[in-house]
């Protein structure tokens, strides 16, 4: 079974995000870069499928030189090889251009199933997986918390508002992964040593034949509106404080 996991390098969840003074982006100094948490579930699921069915796991990532570190992390977890799409022309790629580059790279390698995180925790767009599936002409199951692959069929649980769906798709297909799917493993020390020798193919936009026309333009980044200072309800009696709060919620905020 040929399994592909797409991964993105993003700022750690504890990162403070500061907008550049000219609104052109965020300040990157001091940011700790990690694998997008949702992509970790994809890598883990890929490894489990390989352990069960045999085959090969390829991890693919788009981004600058620092992305190599995240690819090595996935290789240390147990992936077999990597593809690094690296090109300054792709650095501010939107979801469509990113998916086009991934599709071009993936088309050059055999695949039965592709994993993407359900969204990246930086741009929160949640589009690349679906666009990639569309460009490859394969079905998608998004935001998956349980997966069974049997022969040429994938069955997945997808939670929606107030229900859980059991969805079946024929392979090849693309699955976007959600927290709950599995518990991603840590890279072992031997894994880290082995990862250094695993092959990573580096490609640029020209070698993939990717059109660079963005579909979505970012006009500017803005800081979130500041919240006005709140009111601390003081006193010694919990019951009296609770009563004041209930009154404020009812009469001032009018939310209960």
């Amino acid at each position: 079974m040929n399994i592909i996991a797409c991964i993105k390098q993003v700022p750690d969840t504890e990162a403070q995000i500061r907008v550049k003074a000219d609104g052109s982006g965020i300040e990157e100094t001091g940011i700790k870069w990690v694998m997008n948490a949702y992509d970790e579930y994809g890598v883990e699921e890929a490894l489990r499928l390989k352990e069960k069915n045999g085959g090969e796991v390829t991890v693919v990532s788009l981004g600058p030189a620092r992305v190599m570190e995240t690819l090595r992390t996935a290789l240390a977890m147990g992936a077999d090889k990597g593809i690094h799409i690296s090109d300054p022309a792709l650095e501010d790629a939107d979801a469509y251009v990113t998916a086009s580059a991934l599709a071009a790279a993936i088309k050059q390698t055999p695949y039965d199933i592709i994993f993407c995180g359900q969204r990246a925790i930086d741009d929160d767009a949640g589009q690349v997986g679906s666009i990639l599936a569309e460009l490859l002409g394969i079905p998608q199951i998004t935001v998956v918390t349980k997966l069974d692959v049997d022969g040429t069929v994938a069955k997945a649980i997808r939670p929606i508002e107030g229900a859980q769906l059991l969805i079946q798709a024929s392979l090849p297909c693309l699955v976007t992964t959600q927290k709950g799917l599995n518990e991603p493993r840590y890279a072992s020390l031997p894994g880290i040593m082995k990862a250094k020798k695993k092959p990573v193919d580096v490609k640029d936009a020209a070698s993939l034949g990717v059109a660079l026309d963005k579909k979505l333009r970012v006009l500017r980044f803005v800081s979130p509106p500041a919240r006005a200072a709140g009111k601390i309800i003081s006193g010694d009696d919990p019951a009296a404080k609770a009563a004041s709060l209930a009154k404020l919620l009812r009469e001032e905020a009018k939310v209960i």
């Binding site: 798709a169 979505l216 006009l219 709140g230 609770a242 404020l248």
Partner: protein, 325 residues
């Protein structure tokens, strides 16, 4: 020449969901600025009778494709049908819900139509005849203003953020046949397991009572459940509580969980790690109850009580019970 503002309405069992009215009201506002019409697309089986409800929120035309192939929702059938209709009629703007279904559909549609999609927007406006969408990134740690470079300009709107405004529209229901080749359908819904609790999903809840590490264990949530029952609220949790196994993963609020925007968010025993604040800071009112007066959550709260939550919550429940009659 592309024109008109479209919405892709969402329904369950033939009943339109609230997000459909939020979409319609927002589309009406944009269309009025452009001097264009609002059209809705409604796909499903047995949905024609309910379609007319959209007229109350300013919709001029409703394209209804009422066919068994559209129920239950599948990405394949719905994205194919909407793409066909869009290519035929060429709308300028299409609004969808940033709901489970809307996110799945809009992203596939962006691929099919090779156009720009602004996901999970908290504001949309018209500037120089085009839509500018405002959306949170880094789970709300900052925002971006974006614009599609191509038509149709797609945006999915975050539930609960856009007001529902009643305004009569022509509401002409147009029965629309869209041929879908069943051989093209590669996915199938085998089973729908409805949540027996019947509670509102966190992303759509108007009131959320959320508990963190300060709950001390799974048993502590009984007090929150009781308060939630009185307030008709949904119970949420911090990552610490979910990772400790106290609450299911579906309850998690934060950067790696759900991003919520209720009218009222009551944070109990939550210190306010930055990744949690990111997921709830667009709530209209925030209440923090925590015994640590230094907890960062207080910097985001409209109302704060520094106290043991187990002393406050039962009293608050009692007070609310009286107020809510």
């Amino acid at each position: 020449m592309a024109k008109d503002v479209w919405i892709i309405a969402e329904q369950r069992d033939g009943v339109l969901r609230k997000i459909s009215f939020e979409l319609a009201s927002t589309a009406r506002k944009l269309a009025d600025e452009l001097g264009e019409e609002v059209c809705a697309v409604l796909l499903g089986n047995g949905v024609t009778a309910g379609a007319k409800d959209l007229a109350k929120y300013g919709v001029d035309k409703i394209f209804v494709a009422d066919d068994a192939i559209f129920a239950p929702y599948t990405t394949d059938a719905h994205s194919e049908a909407v793409a066909k209709l869009v290519k035929e009629k060429e709308p300028a703007i299409i609004l969808l819900g940033a709901s489970s279904q809307g996110k799945d559909l809009s992203s596939r549609l962006a691929g099919k139509l090779a156009t720009g999609l602004a996901t999970d927007c908290t504001d949309v406006k018209i500037a120089a005849g085009k839509m500018v969408a405002v959306r949170p990134v880094y789970a709300g740690k900052c925002f971006v203003e974006v614009q599609s470079a191509t038509n149709p300009q797609l945006a999915s709107l975050r539930p609960n953020v856009f007001p529902v405004v009643e305004k009569a529209g022509a509401g002409e229901v147009i029965a629309t046949e869209i041929a879908i080749d069943p051989a093209q359908l590669k996915t199938k819904v085998l089973e729908v397991q409805k949540d027996a609790s019947g509670r509102v999903d966190l992303t759509e809840a108007l009131v959320i009572v959320s508990g963190g590490r300060g709950m001390g264990g799974p048993g502590g949530y009984a007090a929150l459940e009781e308060l939630a029952g009185i307030l008709n609220a949904t119970v949420g949790a911090s990552r610490a509580a979910v990772d400790s196994g106290w609450r299911p993963q579906t309850d998690q609020v934060g950067q790696t969980g759900k991003v919520v925007s209720p009218n009222l968010y009551i944070a109990c025993g939550i210190s306010g790690a930055i990744q949690h604040l990111a997921g709830m800071s667009s709530s209209k009112y925030i209440v923090a109850i925590n015994k640590d007066s230094e907890a960062p959550i207080f910097s985001k709260a409209d109302y704060g009580i520094v106290e043991d939550l187990f002393k406050v919550i039962p009293e608050l429940t009692k007070e609310c019970k009286i107020l809510m009659g």
